[in-house]
Point group: C2
Chain length 216, copies 2
DNA sequence: GCTTGACATGCAAATAATTCTCAAATACAT
DNA sequence: ATGTATTTGAGAATTATTTGCATGTCAAGC
């Protein structure tokens, strides 16, 4: 019934690139790599072919933990670990096979598949986290700690604080920025979370060194 | 450190609705249910609160099989089955616990979590599939078989086939529809997949009864 | 009793990942 | 070589989820 799989240039490249890498890349990581050899490929083609190849059993699609799908050059059944920080995926071997489900508890399901995943910190991320804690660093370079950029309103408030030599209350800030009073406290909260503002005295706010840097 | 969780009306409703149901609903299923009691809630609020409640350990977020997240009223650690057809999720009990990973094969990961999922057909879908095969039905009511609606071009081609008393080749179809010859084969393929067209003789196509119905 | 700060909410718009549509290009069997 | 079927590229569309912002609520402090 089924015809032989037609081997197009792009299909071949995708399969080849996946097998060569021996990692568990996402569709777009693979797309970036393929593009170097074949600049006109479309991301859709990569998705389509990964789908087709995994339907044909030549590779395996990994649907791990609600994030991006990843693809495995090895279609044999085996289990995986993934890093909760950087999402990297690796193979893992169990000491013994996973037991069958108890027949009385399958709820009438006709079971056809099984997946076991472990999660944790990969060596790199584990090391990084240790350094982090011991030095008490919270730098911009840590993706999980710096929430990133300022909104327009936040920038305005932060600028106003930078201009003032001492800590301000929210009324002064409202006057200085022209924003509504209610608005101010939201922005302050956000800025505090980012570490750009602190409150030396109750109800008074000041810009931090980090905040000054962020204003650039 | 951590403050007590503030119990707002909507938060309470969400938790309550989840616990009452004893199913494993998605955020938007829950949203639909909540809306009946509190018509002005926002979907974002439901998402936000599910996130907060699961961070607080009162419920559990399930990230199964690359699809929509589902939420579990029971935060205790237990495993799940899901239906590959209707995506329904149920609890499942293993005959014995999953073995630890072999220390030499953790690849240096510091493992903190484990997830076991089974997949298969739920009782409803299994029954449906049996009927389906034995009666040879491929009706519109089966979500996995009917890909749905016609594009404009497909409708045109299908109409042309309906007008002809016998099977046509693609040149005739091109002439009848005014579409380019190259276009025809694409449309035919799509129509065949949907079961609206078949090919009694190589390179000749005819409309099926289903196809006639689809034209309406 | 009024103000403030922390936290929540509704709404709209943004984002991320993936899938679909259609015309044009390719591959393959003949 | 030719005709048909399959595949591609480009971009639009979809789906699931998250974010920004204005506004609202509530308890604690003056």
């Amino acid at each position: 019934m089924d015809k032989l799989l037609r081997m197009t240039h792009q299909r071949e490249l995708i399969l080849d690139e996946l097998r060569r890498g021996k990692t568990h890349p996402t569709a777009d990581e693979l797309y970036e790599r393929i593009k170097k050899k074949l600049p006109r490929v479309s991301l859709a083609t990569v998705y389509r072919n990964l789908e087709i190849l995994s339907a044909a059993g030549l590779i395996k699609k990994l649907e791990i933990s609600g994030r991006q799908k990843r693809f495995d050059w090895d279609p044999e059944n085996h289990d995986h670990v993934y890093c909760i920080q950087c999402q990297r995926v690796d193979n893992i071997t169990l000491a013994a096979p996973v037991p069958q489900v108890e027949a009385t508890h399958t709820q009438g399901y006709r079971i056809t598949g099984r997946r076991v995943e472990f999660s944790g910190l990969c060596p790199n991320c584990a090391r990084q986290q240790e350094n982090h804690q011991s030095k008490g660093e919270h730098s911009m370079s840590c993706p999980s700690c710096s929430a990133g950029k300022l909104s327009d309103n936040q920038r305005q408030v932060l600028q106003a604080l930078a201009n003032s030599s001492e800590a301000c209350g929210s009324k002064e800030l409202a006057a200085a920025t022209g924003l509504e009073a209610k608005q101010i406290s939201c922005q302050i909260t956000a800025l505090k979370n980012k570490g750009y503002v602190d409150s030396p005295v109750r109800c008074k706010y000041a810009i931090t060194d980090q905040g000054k840097q962020a204003l650039g």
